[in-house]
Amino acid sequence: MSQPAIKINGIHKHFGALHALKGIDLSIEQGEFFALLGPNGAGKSTLINILAGLITPSAGNISVMGYDVNKAYQQARMLLGVVPQELVFDPFFNVREMLRFQAGYFGRGRENDAWVDEILEGLGLADKANTNMRKLSGGMKRRALIAQALAHRPPVIVLDEPTAGVDVELRQMLWEFIKKLNHDGHTIILTTHYLEEAETLCSRVAMMKQGQIVALDKTADLLNKFSGKHLRLTLGDVALPEVIVESVRHVENGVYTFALDDMAQIEFVLSALRTANIKVIDMQLNEADLEDVFLSLVGNTAKGVA
């Protein structure tokens, strides 16, 4: 049986009095497209930085395809490509130079040039290959950052919020490229602001809250567990009848979201509103999505998902 791409055992991290990670256990198989979700401060980036060797854990260990990220850091890092969250770049060099340097640090030379060209092409950077990094737009810098993480052709790729601040068109393009990498056998681990991305792309999802994993399952199973429909009613500023208050999952600007187990409950809610003489201004019926799962697990504080 092959080694898991990532194996995380009992990771704790303390920053002074702050217990940032409280015993994380997680195993990600080779070839998975895995999402790590959680609100700001949940500990996702800390976990990724421990995986990347940028932060030392207070306890526990992480291995990449069987290589411990501390004890066998050279082997572990050879297998890992990490896209940092911050938009960092080296202003002295152009895109192609940076990719060649990055591949070179991992022991790859000119024989790697065909792969560098493939990345440049795949990420729409080919015509910017000889442009200095500081002259690139924000979106182009983001692509270059991803390209750098891929330069040494790592089998495991970690993307820490790769689409933060990226426009829709570029996001689509990036995901097509990442999907192709996954299809070619690369393991992908990502954190994202966009839950619909995790839902569409990822086969498995872990949700973190305050340094702990609060949900870990196949995306489809997680959605099934929280199956049901959501009825969104625009009612304005009203006092809801007692009988339906319990079904309300979310309220915002006079829009009430009711979680329903079956269609028959629609009539029950509407009839209660009619009895209370509350007028329905607008109505929408939706299937539960990852955002609903996320909100119910992490709470409404998670509205600004990170």
């Binding site: 920053f15 050279q74 890092r77 340097f101 990055q102 640090y105």
Partner: protein, 259 residues
């Protein structure tokens, strides 16, 4: 099995190449400017003091001054190379590109060290070549000249790595440069022999490691110095070893680079 040691030389060589290219891309700032500065010192001090001061018998003041100016520039530029590269990478955040690689702390150290030595020597050679127009310099012991240039630039390159890792902001780095490097180089006998100082300051100078680098380097040109060149070589070599060990320890522990 992943063989991280395969092509092991290529990783550190790439980092060295990047560091060399980094200063070469701004060669006017990193090489031409210090050469011009040293020549201005040479023109002014030799003009003012040439007819008034003779430090060693038969050695004109201008000739005496040149090795000191060369070594001062070698040391300052070796320090500037590693320290500025690291502080810039830290402040801009692109140091992460190196921290994510399988490079060992020794490879990291050697790449930054050699780049610093190269910049120091290129600046020193530039000043020497231009200074040859002004005065005919003797080369009493070229091996001593090479040894002190290499060890001196290595010592300051290493010190630059320590400063670059320690400093979090550009003003902290400027403080390092202005309150440690500049006074120690200016008070090391670049412009004078310590024998011309009052006895107290002579003694103080003996505690300045820069003095031994300048004096030993100058000894290579004239065969004369304030102290024995072998003693100076031992002091400079010892100081380099101590700083190199401290740097390697800092890099291995990830001090200020990894948390």
């Amino acid at each position: 099995m992943i063989n991280a040691s395969a092509n092991n030389w290529r990783g550190p060589w790439t980092l060295l190449k990047k560091e060399l290219l980094r200063f070469w891309r701004v060669v006017f700032q990193t090489v031409a400017a210090p050469v011009i500065t040293a020549l201005l010192y040479l023109l002014i001090f030799s003009h003012v003091l040439e007819s008034h001061v003779e430090v060693y018998d038969g050695v004109p003041y201008t000739a005496f001054l040149i090795p000191g100016l060369i070594m001062m520039s070698v040391l300052q530029n070796a320090f500037a190379n590693s320290s500025s590269s690291l502080i810039q990478s830290k402040v801009m955040g692109n140091i992460v590109f190196i921290l994510l690689t399988p490079l060992t702390h020794m490879q990291f150290f050697l790449a930054f060290l050699i780049a610093s030595i190269v910049r120091g020597l290129v600046v020193g050679l530039g000043i020497y070549l231009v200074a040859m127009w002004f005065v005919d310099l003797s080369l009493a012991n070229p091996w001593l000249i090479i040894a002190f240039a290499l060890l001196g630039s290595a010592l300051l390159g290493t010190f630059g790595i320590i400063a670059g890792i320690w400093a979090d902001r550009f003003d902290q780095m400027a403080a390092f440069q202005n309150f440690i490097i500049m006074p120690l180089t200016f008070l090391s006998g670049v412009f004078y022999s310590i024998h011309s100082l009052p006895p107290f300051w002579q003694k103080v100078s003996l505690f300045n490691p820069f003095f031994y680098m300048i004096d030993g380097f100058r000894y290579g040109f004239f065969g004369k110095g304030d102290v024995s060149p072998i003693f100076s070589l031992a002091i400079v070599g010892g100081a380099f070893l101590v700083l190199a060990l401290i740097t390697l320890k800092m890099l291995k522990s990830g001090y200020k680079l990894r948390s």
